[in-house]
Symmetry: C2
Subunit: 499 residues, 2 copies
């Protein structure tokens, strides 16, 4: 009997997973391939599919099955598939049950419409086009928050969707430590004067960038049989099914940022790719949280992709591809340029240090919005003021200010902090990998990344979402979230820029 | 009360439509963008979404609403949206209710798997790879047929899914007339000797073909805001939502067939595009049947795209694009070459006359399969024998034989006859359009196709599926399906090849 309840639960979850994956594809397509005329119909389709997924998931039968399976859960090993599935599903079920499917559908529809409006609004640097969408998003988030019992802070409810079980206060503690360490570091570096990175701006054929980006991620583990790489204004990764990993990058004709964006999205992709296939069509078949996800994108983008050893391997190839632009730039100069720390306008282009300040700014504004301390029409002004305060930069227009990211247009509030948490976690995991694998530099210099990938697959990726994020981090690193290794890494790496 | 039942029915149908459109996108993506590794997960997602669409459609509530709405239907004008929606939905409901959602899901899953197997099987000319899939398809079709009361002929049940209310006997009658007229016509033309079309084979840059194809369909009515054009081995059209029309074409590097494929798929697309938008998210928002659909693809491919007037407009542009290949070929020679009648191996490359024999062959084999007169393993031999008998051509391998089309891999039996019916209907509609618009040649010579498109939109496309296929044809042409205008058109057009 218990066995058959478990099988029934699996079937139910598989069905919900199929619907969620259908919605994933609807969204990917909307951002990557859909002609604009399809926006309205797409919003309806997304609303319906998401609402049905929610309806099927919060169905009483799922609750009944979860009750019936308490015995199986308790008698099974904590690490077993059975116990993990029941435990994780129960937590999600108890959350999901609180949210009416109509609200889920409405949020999804508003999200699709908001995302469709974001492109043109950013293009025309016209905040007013997006304002009504943001107001709708905020109103929907208030209704969403109201589905849950009062939390310590309103923002906790939003955060939990992206970083399960993490509290706003915990994030604030980590960010306070970061602020305390990074603000003086940024000042020291600024005081040390400018280094030349002018050669990173110029005429870089997008098709060649794409080719080179593919060459890199192929060495990391990308293959045509299970991956795609497309172009979008805002790079992202998504997976509409096991064995179907989709990256996007933005191949801008005047700089090389796409190389880092491609490595970044690869990091997200390889995490999903490495989840144990036996977990497919269950809620365990995904990365465990956005912060842990981001730790992997940052690992491949920064810890690998901005390392000296990586460029020792790839720089000659890059020079071949862009001989006119880089033929006379030596490897050391290039390495320093792609690691240059300098306050700037755009989050996704920011260096490893100032990046975190972009996040802290968003984290604070999001709390102001959800707690009604800030109204949507006042958002651009608040943004610009804080950019000046934290990074000392002047925002020339909203396209390079509050409109630069798509997250809020789609209703994703509570998402941003996971980016900086990811930075922090990435170095904790990295240190553990190096303990096991020894120094990786000579392997990277030969273009060999398989040992690192397989270590990460074995110790992190394969776990999927079997454990909580905190449990997962502790299993991999042996400790809780801790900013110290990250700060230490930055100080060591940037020592030459300060000296 | 009646008003609210109608609204409730609309909501229900909108939900089903959203799921169907999600499935449409899952399929489009599978054929156009998905990495092969995603095949298994995609098959599951498709099965689930299709099964749910079926479940929601055949729900008792829909039946109850349809009963409640009999009064509204009878008191409303036959042509009204209300009466048409209730009438059409009732017919589909009564059909759909007979098929268990599990079978629908199973068929969809098998279809996804079969289609995934088709590509490699064709590539390697290996029928054995596809055989088990075809056997599954046939077994599923038998189970499907068994859901319905016995028909005059088993094949009637399959045909009805593509050409509602049409009987196998009616098709046979039309095809018998075609055979009787076309076989001697093909002989007359063969006897008249070869004409030169060697210049149609050569080195034709695919990117230029794509550009030229786009130039043509833009003049017909394609726009970037509501359309896409992608590349696939087998061209097709699909629409994952109102205002989102997707064409594919096969840009082969050694011939110009993609131009005709692009025009063909445009014809399918413009029919969907022209359906009255007020019918969106209902089952009326689509072309009425595959034969009528095909009449429009053939209209734009053949009646427009192989006309003398069309090439008077476009041939200079084509020569510009392919100067080395066509610079010394005059317009008349080119016109004759693209209208050359000659028995050949591949259906989609066949000329307007022999094309129909490819269809008649498939129509007959399908009946043999479903009536168990032919076993799947014997299919290649039967195919090759009949190709010899009807067209006098030798099939060198299965890639150019029984594996050339994907339809059967996906389980589409009963689909093929609609292609030849479409040829027949296209000329019936064309003759009516010319009666209203007068001769179109000088407009085509100037690259103006708007009058034709708008006439078709007004008289045919906008109707969507409000009426039965037969009613629709009679409304547009004033008569029932009739092969005579088509045969007359062919005889007139080909007179110079016979003389």
């Amino acid at each position: 009997m218990t066995g058959s309840s478990f099988e029934r639960l699996r079937e139910r979850l598989a069905e919900v997973n199929d619907l969620t994956k259908a919605a994933t594809l609807l969204l990917w397509d909307q951002r990557v391939k859909m002609p604009p005329g399809g926006a309205e119909a797409r919003a309806e389709a997304l609303a319906t599919v998401s609402r049905l997924a929610q309806e099927r998931f919060i169905d009483d039968e799922v609750g009944r099955l979860l009750e019936e399976l308490r015995g199986l859960e308790e008698s099974s090993d904590y690490d077993s598939f059975e116990a993990s599935l029941v435990r994780t599903t129960r937590r999600e079920y108890e959350k999901a049950q609180r949210v009416p499917p109509e609200l889920v559908g409405e949020m999804r529809r508003a999200s699709a419409l908001g995302l469709s409006a974001w492109g043109p609004a950013k293009e025309e640097a016209d905040f007013e086009q997006l304002r009504p969408h943001l107001e709708t998003q905020l109103e929907l988030r208030h209704r969403y928050v109201a589905c849950f019992p009062p939390a310590d802070e309103t923002y906790d409810v939003l955060l939990d969707d992206y970083e399960p079980l993490m509290k706003t206060a915990d994030v604030r503690a980590v960010f306070d430590e970061l602020k305390q360490e990074l603000v003086p570091l940024i000042e020291e570096i600024s005081a040390a004067g400018e280094s030349d990175d002018g050669f990173l701006t110029g005429d870089f054929d997008p098709a060649t960038q794409r080719e080179l980006g593919l060459e890199i991620v192929r060495a990391f583990g990308y293959s045509d049989s299970e991956w795609r790489l497309d172009e979008t204004a805002h790079p992202f990764m998504t997976t509409p099914g096991a064995g179907d990993i989709r990256l996007t990058s933005n191949f801008r004709p005047n700089d090389l940022s796409s190389l880092f964006a491609t490595m970044h999205e690869f990091g997200h992709g390889v995490y999903e790719w490495g989840v144990d296939r036996s977990l497919a069509r269950t809620p365990l078949h995904s990365g465990v949280s956005l912060a842990v996800h981001e730790s992997q994108s940052r690992t491949w983008e920064n810890l690998v992709g901005r390392s000296r050893a990586f460029w020792r391997w790839f720089y000659p190839r890059l020079q071949q591809g862009f001989d006119a632009q880089l033929g006379s730039v030596d490897e050391e100069a290039f390495y320093r340029a792609v690691n240059k720390v300098q306050p700037s306008l755009i989050r996704i282009d920011a260096d490893e240090v100032t990046y975190n300040m972009h996040i802290i700014l968003r984290f604070e504004l999001e709390q102001d919005l959800i707690d009604n301390r800030l109204a949507v029409p006042d958002l651009p002004e608040a943004w610009n003021a804080r950019m000046d305060q934290y990074l000392g930069v002047d925002v020339p227009d909203d396209a390079r200010g509050v409109l630069q990211d798509m997250h809020w247009s789609g209703g994703a509030l509570g998402y941003f902090p996971t980016y900086a948490l990811g930075n922090v976690i990435s170095v904790q995991i990295w240190e553990r990998a190096l303990q096991d694998l020894g120094d990786l530099d000579d392997r990277f210099e030969r273009g060999e990344f398989g040992d690192l990938r397989e270590w990460l697959r074995e110790h992190l990726y394969s776990l999927g979402a079997k454990f909580t994020p905190q449990e997962t981090i502790e299993r991999v690193t042996g400790s809780r979230i801790d900013a110290k290794p990250y700060v230490r890494y930055l100080r060591e790496k940037l020592a030459p820029q300060i000296a």
